[in-house]
């Protein structure tokens, strides 16, 4: 298989402009003759569905939630980057491009990232026109902040609810097209298979989650905007329903899965409190601007803290180890996410963790409150402090917060070319569900940017290029390909229901999560990954023998929904381990202990691994085939990241 990235010719800054001119167009009067399915209604899905409908295409929009407005983009807190340079502080399209490539540890495509930076400015214009209430200065113009250690202030925000406001903007645009009759909405409906006819994506099979009805939907193209797969770890900051099923089923139909091992672990989350934990809550990265991260200097002190024999406030300065400030004097507490996360793990592995489970470090605002006063700190972080208090029952104004890293975002995803088309004709992937823009590590405030860039400004151009060559006639859902896919979906459901084993779906999901977290999480070793592979294999066998799914298909059945998703996570987990095992280097979110510098930092191997690893499904229980897309850097020089 030849992976053609389809990157346009010409200088970096002119590629997208040239490409837009060169793509084939669909005549305005003919657009209504094409149907497009968009799965997912988060930023990438809702923006794509609305924009495509505005152009005149007939769109069918699917989400598993009860309303498109619930998609998990809604939970993004921090902000959205754009190279507007409103602050006159030296930002530019090239700088945003450069920061994103470097932040991604040189594992993303130059051309895609440059386009992302280019269209970032249009996103802000679009959102403001929709009535998104971004933060403003007293003069009435938009406010910006610096985010995630960026050297310029390019992040637009809406208090700590930027994702919510952007999603409601996209949802309003989508709602308008529903009212216009250009979008047909299918809420509480989950895609369970991709339908291919003559090698092209021609529709999907979906299950109505309320009635259990299995339905086929035919279209000229399918866009997957189905988010990330962080829930393979069971505990993550993802929503409970976030899953890989749509993308995975497309993968099993031939779509390549790229860089699945690239996972982002966010350093500032509220620690796990017990076995009952169902999800983890993120605390905005901005807290690290004022909070100081530390653990007790010795194991013995940490032990006493865990036993509640001493209080953290009573520890003297030399009994505290501000380990980030000590190890990284230049960046201190503001080192990138992967570095901060890994170091928290190290100090806890040394036995210096500070909560009952030993898996927490302090984020202390004592000095900031002393310096700026409690009111100033409250005005900056008040809502986060309240949320922390609500969840933990502890007051962060009076004692240090406890934090620990948690799975937050997955950079890997379906392989797509420059047009966001997968290797299957007619199948596109946008937003977090594709792999394209963040390399091995995503910068803060860039997920929202990418989701909306793909949906508002990329796919509306690129999909026309494909549709212009397609016939108007739609494949009938009576076609044998649809019938076969329906049968496969039904058989799979019947199989899950017929096992009638003894262990709940959550049991398997938790077990899988533990394996993934222990061996394929923040820090990985060849040995550990090999062990994980065996453990997952065994777990998968046990799942198909002993899982207990009550009830029937013909009803609202949450156990069945979960079982189907977990069965896909089990398969994905194995591929993630394979991918992590084969990548004999450390880069971004992928840290192999065998590959580190003498100072313990990630050591890339550009000679052998500057490529995208795209995996091809070859059949049940068969190893997947690796395809490589070499990454070519013509505009940036590859350097080792250093935050000392």
């Amino acid at each position: 298989m030849n992976l053609e990235s389809k990157i346009p010719e010409g200088p970096l800054s002119e590629k997208w402009t040239n490409h837009k001119f060169n793509v084939k167009l669909v005549n305005p009067a003919n657009k209504r003759k094409y149907d497009i399915i968009v799965v997912g209604t988060g930023l990438a899905g809702a923006s794509a569905a609305a924009s495509l409908a505005e152009l005149g295409y007939n769109v069918k929009s699917f989400c598993f939630q009860d309303s498109p407005r619930r998609a998990h983009s809604i939970a993004a807190q921090g902000g959205i980057n754009a190279a507007k340079n409103y602050q006159n502080d030296g930002d530019s399209v090239f700088r945003l491009f450069y920061d994103t490539i470097k932040g991604g540890d040189y594992r993303s495509r130059e051309a895609n990232v440059y386009r992302l930076a280019q269209v970032s400015v249009n996103i802000i214009d679009q959102c403001v026109a929709q009535g998104v209430p971004f933060a403003r200065e007293y003069g009435g113009l938009l406010a910006n902040r610096s985010f995630g250690g960026a050297q310029v202030s390019r992040t637009f925000y809406a208090r700590g609810q930027t994702g919510q406001q952007l999603l409601l903007g996209a949802y309003s645009a989508l709602s308008r097209q529903i009212a216009n009759g250009k979008v047909e909405l299918f809420p509480r409906t989950e895609m369970l298979d991709l339908v291919m006819v003559d090698g092209k994506a021609k529709g999907i099979v979906a299950r109505n989650l309320v009635t259990g009805k299995i339905e086929s939907h035919s279209a000229h193209a399918v866009v997957l905007a189905t988010g990330g797969y962080g829930n393979v770890f069971y505990l993550s900051t993802n929503a409970m329903g976030s899953n890989v099923t749509a993308a995975w089923r497309a993968h099993k139909k031939g779509a390549l899965m790229a860089n699945p091992c690239y996972t982002q672990i966010h350093p500032t989350c509220i620690p796990v409190s017990g076995d009952h934990q169902s999800k983890l809550t993120l605390m905005s990265e901005s807290l690290r601007n004022d909070g100081r991260v530390w653990v007790p200097a010795t194991k013995e002190l940490a032990e006493k803290i865990r036993k509640k024999e001493i209080h953290p406030n009573d520890l003297s300065e030399d009994e505290r180890d501000y380990y980030l400030e000590r190890k990284y004097p230049a960046f201190g507490n503001l080192v990138p996410r992967d570095v901060a996360s890994r170091n928290a793990k190290y100090v806890c592995d040394e036995g210096r963790g500070v909560n009952e489970t030993g898996k927490a470090v302090y984020l202390d605002f004592r000095d900031a409150i002393k310096r700026d006063g409690e009111d100033t700190i409250a005005s900056k972080y008040g809502n986060l402090f309240d949320m922390y208090k609500q969840i933990t029952g502890e007051n962060p104004y009076a004692q240090p917060m406890k934090i620990y890293p948690a799975v937050h975002y997955t950079m890997g995803g379906l392989w797509v070319d420059y047009n966001l088309k997968t290797n299957i004709d007619g199948l596109y992937a946008t937003g977090e569900s594709n792999f394209s823009d963040h390399g091995a590590n995503r910068l803060g405030a860039s997920a929202l940017m990418q989701g909306l860039a793909d949906g508002y400004f990329v796919i509306p151009y690129t999909i026309g290029n494909y549709l212009a060559g397609e016939k108007y006639e739609k494949v009938d859902t009576d076609h044998e390909a649809f019938k076969a896919a329906e049968k496969e979906v039904k058989d799979n459901i019947d199989k899950l229901l017929s096992i009638k084993g003894s262990k709940s779906v959550d049991h398997y999901h938790k077990e899988l999560g533990k394996i993934m977290w222990d061996y394929c999480g923040m820090s990985r070793t060849g040995e550990g990954l090999k062990k994980a592979k065996e453990l997952i294999k065994d777990l998968k066998v046990d799942f198909w023998k002993n899982v207990k799914v009550l009830g029937s298909n013909e009803e609202f059945n949450s156990s069945l929904e979960k079982a189907s998703r977990v069965s896909d996570f089990l398969e994905l987990g194995e591929l993630m381990v394979d991918d992590a095992l084969h990548r004999e280097e450390s880069c971004g979110g992928h840290f192999r202990e065998e590959h580190q510098t003498p100072e313990g930092e990630a050591k890339r191997n550009d000679e052998d691994f500057a490529y995208v690893a795209a995996w091809e499904y070859t059949g049940p229980e068969k190893p997947e085939t690796l395809h490589k897309e070499q990454l070519i850097f013509e505009n940036v020089k590859l350097t080792q990241r250093s935050y000392k």
């Binding site: 609305a50 403001v128 403003r136 919510q164 709602s175």
Partner: protein
């Protein structure tokens, strides 16, 4: 901690439904309310009983999907939080907790505690947007908006569409939800062009969905997890009246 849970069980839309009581032991005070239900469900599955169905997704108080009526209050006893952010330390050991779905004609029960809130989506579809297509918009800073106006619009925009306002209201009125969107857009310069039409259409759709009239008791705002202010309703009434007067209908 130990609890007696009185939970509304209803197999589907056709079923009459009724309360069922469960004893639950070994609950940690650090559990969220939904995690407590998770524990109950694991025990029910173990006994081959159908788990309690409920809507939930983000579990961090922003998606608006969770919707439980706990001890006679939407989202339970704490102010300013959704059910998923409510923790068991807010209850006392040995307490009986009654859990029901949202009760409103416009929100039919789907199963157990899950209800159909698509009426809200249809109200937004009636006009809860600014009609701009993608592309061709002016530079974002060409529309200066006074900070105070932007902040006030933001306060209205924080509505999560959970429906607690409807559940709290004796008349199952959706006025707080609808008015929050109308207010947000009517305050912003971008929303002026369609201002009258929007108010008329959204109110008409709200009525068509079968939501009741405002009781003026303010229960909606008191129970709103995001603290949406009652003044939004006053603004909506003004917008609606203004629209009616200018259209002469």
């Amino acid at each position: 901690m130990k609890f007696k849970l009185k939970i509304w069980r209803q197999k589907n839309n056709q079923d009459k439904g009724g309360f069922k009581t469960y004893d639950l032991d070994g609950v940690s005070s650090d559990m969220s309310f939904l995690e407590m239900i998770d524990v109950l469900n694991e025990q029910l599955i173990d006994k081959d009983e159908d788990p309690v169905h409920f809507d939930h997704d983000c579990r961090e108080g922003i998606c608006g999907m969770c919707s439980m009526y706990i001890n006679g209050e939407p989202h339970g006893p704490l102010r300013g939080v959704t059910t998923c952010q409510l923790h068991m330390r807010s209850f006392s050991d040995g307490e009986t907790i009654t859990i029901e779905p949202w009760r409103a004609k416009a929100f039919p029960v789907i199963k157990d505690l899950a209800v159909d809130r698509s009426a809200f989506d249809r109200v937004i579809q009636a006009g809860g947007y600014i009609s701009v297509n993608t592309g061709g918009t002016p530079d974002a800073n060409e529309i200066p908006i006074p900070k105070t106006v932007a902040d006030e619009a933001f306060d209205s925009a924080t509505c999560i569409g959970c429906g607690a306002c409807v559940a709290a209201c004796k008349n199952a009125s959706a006025m707080l939800f609808v008015s929050a969107k109308i207010s947000q857009l009517s305050m912003l310069p971008q929303g002026q062009v369609e201002r009258d039409e929007r108010a008329e259409k959204m109110v008409a759709q709200m009525d068509a969905e079968g939501f009741g009239a405002c009781t003026n008791t303010g229960a909606c705002s008191a129970e709103c997890p995001k603290g949406i202010d009652l003044s939004n309703i006053a603004r909506m009434n003004r917008e609606y009246l203004g629209a009616k007067l200018s259209s002469g209908k």
